[in-house]
């Protein structure tokens, strides 16, 4: 199975280029956790249900992403530090199309 590469800027500004398998049904929040790019307990608090916004990230490249669901949209409406390119990383499943994706994690809140 193919692995893809994703560039993730963590909350301290450090850039990580990580290899991600496309056959493990992972989402981006889980990738960040699996590489331990932020302290455990500060991301994915709700487990990936779009109910806490602790995994908010900014999309920095122009990859085509799955459309935002209403859960994610309304959760972001209550999150802080939201920008036009904000997404909840738990709502973005890993697919081959995401190769080269660049994201930055939003501050913890």
């Amino acid at each position: 199975m193919t692995d893809i590469t994703i560039k993730i800027t963590d909350r301290n500004g450090a850039l990580h280029e990580v290899l991600v398998p496309t056959d493990m049904a992972m989402n981006i929040m889980e990738v960040i956790r699996s590489y331990e790019l932020v302290p455990e307990g500060t991301i994915g608090v709700c487990g990936g249900m779009a109910m806490c916004a602790s995994c908010q990230c900014y999309i920095k490249s122009d990859h085509e992403l799955p459309e935002m669901g209403s859960d994610e949209d309304l959760m972001l409406a209550e999150a802080f530090y939201v920008e036009d390119n904000s997404r909840l990383s738990c709502q973005i499943p890993i697919t081959v199309k995401l190769n080269g994706l660049e994201i930055e994690l939003a501050p913890e809140s």
Binding site: E36, M49, M51
Partner: protein
């Protein structure tokens, strides 16, 4: 001073099930939780969401799991200190502990079981630069006493159930209620949304959407807020209180300073034996602990609670002989005088 055998910090599923396992051993439990209701994340974050990996329940809502656990432990009469956060711990000369909450409630027990999940739930505070200056003078993240809003001008921010419910409630108390949200859509229960619509139509709630409170003003006490409307227009609103209701997020908090060994925001325990921490008599179970191979699952918390109670029993009664009994054999004898037991087989002679 509240006295008990096992003081459980955290009333989520793991903490609640601990009461049952302790009860089988005739040990009494008392629980402390920062939230005003038991259930932890199951009741606070996702009560209406299904869980599929509770053994023997192909599907159960998180809120229903909490209800069932409370029913299962009811006869063991657990005590609760809710809406208070465990703040400090003191070890006495006889190796027992005193845990004091942020409101000064003291609890005394020979065994402490930390079942704190990801930590205690703290309100999420919007990033408004001077907000901290008003935390005792007009900004409240949690409504404790609605009477302080009587005949006052109140601005509520948020789009979930608590923002909607309090906006509705305060229309009968405050002189003016404004509800500010970044969208026109709300995430709350449908009947609350409809009620707010009705109150808006009759002029009892001033609905300001899509908008965001960006600044707060005042000298000794809050006097108003500045709101960005439609992303470009700034409006100023007079107010006595600003209540941001953006939900809660868990923080490990004061437990992190109890001298326990912490790794990755979790408490290290001995999983080869009994889930005890580096301080004898303090155990950590459920999502709050870590050990090689740890999984943050409710069912793992149940297992950890069970083994932990056996160890707690030996700590409290070091010289007592004890052997594990199946509940089917021994029944369940509550502290309230009730007894559940398997019905005896009917024996009838054949003539």
């Amino acid at each position: 001073m509240i006295k008990t055998d096992i003081l459980i910090i955290g009333a989520g599923p793991t903490g609640l099930f601990t009461v049952f396992e302790a009860g089988l051993l005739k040990l009494k439990c008392h629980l402390i939780d920062a939230l005003p209701q038991p259930g932890g994340q199951c009741s606070e974050i996702y009560p209406k969401k299904p869980i599929y990996d509770i053994p023997a329940y192909p599907e159960i809502l998180a809120g229903d799991l909490t209800e069932k656990l409370l029913e299962q432990i009811a006869s063991f009469q657990p005590g609760f200190t809710l809406g208070e956060r465990a703040e400090t711990i003191e070890k006495l000369e006889d190796d027992t502990f005193i845990v004091t909450t942020n409101k000064g409630t003291k609890h005394h027990a020979p065994v402490i079981a930390i079942a704190g999940g990801l930590g205690s739930f703290e309100p999420r505070k919007p990033p408004i630069p001077n907000i901290a200056e008003f935390e005792n003078s007009g900004v409240e993240y949690i409504i404790r006493d609605p009477e302080i809003y009587r005949n006052k001008k109140v601005v509520i921010a948020g789009g979930g159930d608590s923002a909607l419910d309090w906006a509705i409630f305060l229309t009968n108390v405050a002189s003016e209620v404004s509800l500010v949200h970044r969208r026109n859509e709300f995430r709350g229960a449908l009947d609350s949304v409809e009620k707010v619509q009705e109150l808006k139509n009759t002029g009892k709630i001033k609905l300001i959407t899509p908008a965001e409170v960006k600044e707060i003003h005042g000298k000794d006490h809050l006097t108003g807020v500045s709101i960005i409307l439609n992303k470009n227009e700034t409006i100023h609103l007079e107010a006595d209180h600003f209540i941001p209701l953006f939900g809660l997020s868990p923080k490990l908090g004061p437990i992190g300073n109890w001298g326990l060994e912490i790794e990755k925001n979790a408490i290290k325990v001995n999983n080869a034996l009994d889930y005890q921490t580096n301080i004898p008599g303090i155990y950590a179970i459920g999502d709050v602990n870590t050990y090689p191979g740890k999984l943050k699952l409710i069912l793992c918390g149940f297992h950890e609670a069970t083994l932990m109670c056996q160890s707690a029993y030996k700590r409290i009664y070091p010289n007592k002989k004890y052997v594990m009994k199946y509940t089917t054999v021994g029944g369940v004898e509550g502290f309230d005088g009730t007894k559940k037991e398997a019905p005896k087989a009917v024996v009838k002679k054949i003539e």
